[in-house]
């Protein structure tokens, strides 16, 4: 049963569709804060956009280790998409401090549109928002996926989500992005560390940035080798029959100078065309949405747990410690308590 939009939600959605940046920014804040009114606005906004067939933004996730030049790469992607006439939305996610809950968000520095010229003349076609990961250590903020949808519905033709590749966030980014760009760079010595094993499978396009540095060809070779190994391990018959051509593209870039950027944009365009033509886009997004709903459900359950009679959880824990109960039993008791 879809929630009915409140008049205020319709009004906010209309403002956003008129190009009111402040209303859009407010919506994202509301989504970050878990404000129910924001959920209503997003519903109204997406409803309006879906009606006019506007939910067609490619959501590109850009992730990689610190220092790999992601922000500069995103900056250059912004320019490239602007040159094609697309409006660009950017969500730059950085971790919150586990100690204070605060954060310093500095990715914007590299993405400011210096080309717009001195003394003003800002580009209204670019919306950049910095998000802190908040409670979810090393992961994406709860609101990131919803914010990406908000930008799409607001008419940004490309939405780029930049995250630092540590821990949970790679899994999150694969869930919310249509295309994941995994960025690495030639390191000092232990090059293979640039991409952790287990993360390879989420990459749709691989970029070796700072490719003017020594060792970039080696990183490219290593990534290709890992992709081929992964394909073989999966016993991917289609791939073995089709040869190596079906492997994900591995591209070299020098974001600082723009070298390799046209090739990257071409690869992203090809991927986007394929996603749309094959119908994979809808199924991928559905998978992502289901996973997102499941994690919201888990969060919700944990929140319920917090509202239960005080001491229940601690009491059970002590019983486990004393050998009076097993963990599985305790979980069962908590589950029944929530269901009540």
């Amino acid at each position: 049963m879809p929630a009915k939009a409140l008049p205020s939600a319709l009004e906010a959605a209309a403002s956003i569709l008129r190009g009111d940046e402040r209303a859009l920014a407010r919506l994202i804040t509301g989504l970050e804060d878990g404000d129910p009114a924001a959920a209503g606005t997003l519903r109204a906004l997406r409803g309006g956009s879906a009606a006019v067939g506007q939910l067609t933004a490619q959501v590109v996730g850009v992730t990689g280790p610190p220092g790999s030049g992601k922000s500069t790469l995103v900056d250059k992607l912004i320019s490239a998409y602007r040159a094609k006439g697309l409006r660009v939305g950017v969500l730059a996610v950085d971790p919150s401090s586990p100690f204070s809950g605060g954060a310093i968000l500095g990715d914007r520095i590299r993405m400011q549109r210096a080309e717009a010229g001195p003394g003003g003349g800002l580009d209204p076609g670019v919306f950049i928002r910095s998000l802190a990961s908040r409670g979810r250590l090393g992961g994406l903020s709860r609101a990131t996926a919803q914010s990406a949808r908000a930008l799409e519905a607001a008419g940004y033709g490309v939405v780029i989500v930049e995250t630092v590749g540590i821990g949970q966030s790679e899994i999150d980014i694969a869930r919310l992005a249509d295309t994941v760009v995994l960025v690495s760079m030639p390191g000092s010595g232990d090059d293979i560390q640039v991409i952790k094993a287990g993360v390879m499978e989420i990459g749709d396009v691989f970029v070796v940035n700072k490719a003017d540095r020594e060792g970039s060809d080696r990183v490219v070779r290593e990534i290709r080798a890992m992709l081929e190994t992964g394909a073989t391990l999966r016993q991917d018959l289609a791939l073995r029959q089709g040869g190596a051509a079906e492997l994900q593209p591995v591209l070299k870039t020098v974001a600082e100078t723009g070298e390799g950027l046209p090739e990257l944009v071409l690869a992203l365009d090809a991927r986007w065309a394929k996603l749309n033509a094959s119908g994979e886009l809808a199924s991928r997004r559905a998978r992502g949405a289901a996973a997102e709903a499941r994690s919201l459900l888990a969060e919700r359950a944990l929140a319920e747990l917090a509202l239960l009679e005080p001491g229940l959880e601690e009491g059970l824990a002590m019983e486990i410690v004393r050998g009076e109960r097993e963990v599985a039993e305790a979980a069962e008791i908590l589950f029944s308590a929530i269901r009540k």
Binding site: E21, R22, A25, R26, I28, T29, E32, D33, G34, D35, S96, S97, F99, S100, G101, G102, A103, I104, L105, G106, R108, I109, Q112, P118, G119, G120, G121, L122, F127, I128, R129, S130, A132, R134, G135
Partner: protein, 132 residues
């Protein structure tokens, strides 16, 4: 709801002295705020665009070049144009006492001079931020 105070720390003007801005940014983070840092040489237009897109509660500007009387009022004007006058705006850096009444008349809520403890700035923000 998990409401965080969001602050834009901005360096208008051409001076490159960002020690103070960076120290304050770190102190704000350690006080649980989310701080967006703009980097050097930001025009009033860039600052206001960032403040709007980032939907900050607070705009903290640091300037040591002496151009505050020109740049701060311009920022306030542009904020008003965008309907964002509810952002709490504070200033810091080398700003002569004589200039403070003028800046306050333009809507700068407070000016924190050299030697101000970061805790004083943070307390001021917590007490004066206009919660929505």
């Amino acid at each position: 709801m998990d409401r965080k105070i969001r602050v834009l720390v901005a360096k208008p003007g051409l001076d490159g002295h960002d020690r103070g801005a960076k120290v304050v940014a770190r102190a704000m983070r350690d006080a649980g705020m989310e701080v967006i840092y703009t980097g050097l040489r930001q025009t009033p237009e860039q600052i206001v665009q960032a403040a709007v897109q980032e939907d900050v509660d607070v705009l903290a500007m640091s300037i040591l070049s002496g151009a505050h009387n020109h740049l701060f009022p311009r920022v306030m004007e542009l904020l008003a144009d965008k309907g964002a006058s509810d952002v709490l705006v504070v200033g810091g850096g080398v700003i002569p006492e004589d200039d403070i009444p003028f800046l306050e008349s333009k809507g700068i809520a407070a000016v924190f001079g050299p030697g101000t403890p970061t805790s004083a700035t943070i307390e001021f923000i917590k007490a004066n931020v206009k919660r929505r």
